[in-house]
Subunit: 135 residues, 2 copies
């Protein structure tokens, strides 16, 4: 193994990604197939590491793999308009904010329901089940 080349486990450690996940990303074409060593091991270079780092960062930001695919493609074409990137980001942010609002409404309702528990009772007079049951 030449200087600077990384095995899949090295890549996994560097990016805190599981080995199987890296292979999965390759299978779905999110990462290019790397060259293979004599023993048929995947052998990565620094660029591959950078690409995976970018993917991981995007995943941490909650982007879908499909979005990441687009972002990667955009990032390779210097001439494309930056507004495409902005659009993807803005749409994702909006989706996250919608999800937060939904979950907050949910949390309030659950709090309301949970607060009804008198404690120590049996199912027959459970006010939580009562609250859940549609009337």
């Amino acid at each position: 193994m030449k200087h600077g080349e990384l095995k899949i486990g090295d890549l996994a450690r560097e990016t805190r990604t599981k080995v199987v996940t890296i292979r999965y990303y390759e299978k779905i074409g999110l990462l290019p197939s790397p060259v293979r060593s004599a023993g048929n091991y995947r052998s990565y270079d620094a660029e591959a590491l950078e690409r995976l780092r970018f993917v991981r960062r995007c995943r941490d930001l909650g982007f879908s793999l499909e979005n990441i695919r687009e972002l990667l493609e955009l990032s390779l074409d210097d001439e494309r308009a930056c507004s495409d990137v902005d659009e993807i980001t803005a749409a994702h942010l909006a989706a996250v904010e919608r999800k937060i609002a939904d979950l907050q409404a949910l949390a309030h309702e659950l709090q309301r329901i949970a607060s009804r528990c008198s404690g120590g009772g049996t199912i027959s007079n459970c006010r939580i089940l009562d609250a859940i049951t549609p009337h």
Copy 2:
């Protein structure tokens, strides 16, 4: 079809659940298999409707099908302690609140990133991609 009996489509309309989903719930044992009509159509009674309504309500509250299974089982046993129900609800609420916190952190980061867009530029000087790319 006797008075008061419902076909799967009726159940679907009443509960705003898709027909395929009802069949799916039956397959995984969340709903009991109903009797069949002469033409092999599923035939539901009012109790089945109530049960599905309960399931739907729980889904709307974000409970997993596994949780719903437990809640259904608990609700059938009058003697069981209500605290079991409270536990499931409280754990779910805690999970929802964790998720909200995670998403809020995410939203803040995305806002920070999106605000860097100067508009009108090209990928080569895209400050969003810059912000996403790990250094």
